[in-house]
Amino acid sequence: MNRIVKFIVLDIFRNKIILSYTILMSALSWGVFSLEDNSTKGVLTLLNLILLNVPLVSIVFSSIYLYNSSEFIELLLSQPIRRKKIWLSLFVGLQTSLILAFLLGAGIPILVYAPINYSFILILIGVVITAVFVSIAFFSSIYTRDKTKGIGIAILLWLFFALLFDGLLLFLLFQFSEYPIEVPMMFVSALSPIDLSRIMILLQLDVSAMMGYTGAVFRQFFGTRIGIYITFAVLMLWIFIPFYFSLRKFKKKDL
């Protein structure tokens, strides 16, 4: 493993926030599964908790970490290291530690309690959604120099994707309910990684009643298997595109 990545991962694991995040995820998961006697219902409850908590912690923690490592970045920049490598190491380091924290906290109880075909996808969702929001944090924090503003934007972005986006979707639905908007709606839902993950897991769980509007359209349009592949592919884009733009900006930044 790259030395800078190793250093960053070790540094993050010395952080108490990441420890409490692991404990929180663990407590939530064990709690949900021991309260719900039906494991499918347990999976759904946990899904909603994951989709609320994981993005918040990923985006806010990553933003703060990036702002706090500005000194370290400066120090590295005066050394013979390519800018791309510095930024990529930070990215890989943050991803590794947050994903590891999720796996340690939520992964173990999910593997113990959830049926095997659900547990895999639920863990996958957690990992992917962590990666997406770390990537978004890189994007938002490179474009704002001020720390307070940057963290504010991170929280607003989370609020938007976790809560406001659904409201917006619903609003659009009602406004255009007299038109055939199923297909455009599908594309709109691709604009929110959280919605995408929800659709993905509901497709896998095959609980039509809970699938909601876009999910149903997705299945009708693509079928279950292809639907999952497509949602997954779009989520991958959500990881790579924001990071790619942040990297481009970082290469040209004055420090």
């Binding site: 000194e71 370290f72 400066e74 120090l75 005066s78 050394q79 290291i81």
Partner: protein, 245 residues
């Protein structure tokens, strides 16, 4: 060794560097002086690739530094205000830098001993005073035996004793034939160090002269007096009298 060609840099509307042309050779010890906000630190950061100039070119050993990073193996940099990760200890910083650099030769740890930093290896960076942080910066700059040393206000914040230790070290390195670039406000400190003077003002190089020439042309004995002489002459619009020989 370092060749700077028509560098321009603008922050918003402020022209920080305006067509700066300079060249530095091995064995020189150059003092970069000028009033606050004249572009000294920006120029240094351009050489280090931390600030990317809007136009112009910087060559290091005949190769453009644009899109290059390996040339920095030859540079030791001591920033004006060293900023380090708060939670790292002095020892960790030094160890991390050593492992990142993949440097094969002998480490130059003289300053670590002279500054007695060995005794503070377990202290976290946030607990250090400004002066001690400067000492860490100085040690890191000299640690890898670089051919070029770029020191931004090296003695600011150091106590007289430490500042003498650092000056002795700089002179030692100069005698080894290294290129040393210093910015400083304390002109009196430069007398026994520098061989060349670069005077910058509002993003432009006013003059670049060897110390001997400067002293000869102004008829003064000390650098500080010579600079004062030049500044007075400038006020009378007589800058044209200085020639580079």
């Amino acid at each position: 060794m370092i060749l700077i060609k028509k560098i321009k840099k603008q922050f918003g509307k402020l022209k920080v560097l305006n067509r700066v042309d300079l060249s530095f050779e091995k064995g020189q010890c150059i003092a970069l002086i000028g009033p606050n906000a004249c572009g000294k630190t920006t120029l240094i950061k351009c050489i280090l690739g931390m600030v990317l100039p809007d136009s112009g070119e910087i060559m290091f050993n005949g190769v453009s530094i644009q899109n290059d990073d390996q040339y920095r193996t030859h540079i030791g940099y001591m920033p004006q205000i060293g900023r380090y990760p708060d939670n790292m200890t002095v020892g960790q910083i030094i160890e991390t830098m050593k492992s990142i650099r993949k440097y094969k030769g002998d480490f130059d740890e003289r300053l670590l001993e002279d500054f007695k930093l060995n005794e503070m290896f377990d202290k976290r960076m946030r607990t250090l005073s400004g002066g001690t942080t400067q000492k860490v910066s100085a040690c890191l700059a000299f640690l890898f035996n670089p051919d070029v040393l770029i020191l931004d206000e090296p003695t600011a914040g150091l106590d007289p004793l430490a500042s003498e230790v650092l000056k002795a070290k700089i002179i030692l390195e100069k005698e080894k034939g290294k290129l040393i670039l210093i910015t400083s406000h304390l002109l009196s400190e430069l007398d026994d160090l520098v061989t060349q003077i670069v005077f910058m003002h509002e993003g432009k190089v006013h003059f670049h002269l060897a110390v001997n020439d400067l002293l000869q042309q102004t008829g003064e004995l000390k650098i500080s007096a010579a600079i004062a002489h030049v500044l007075r002459a400038k006020e009378k619009n007589q800058t044209g009298t200085l020639r580079n020989s």
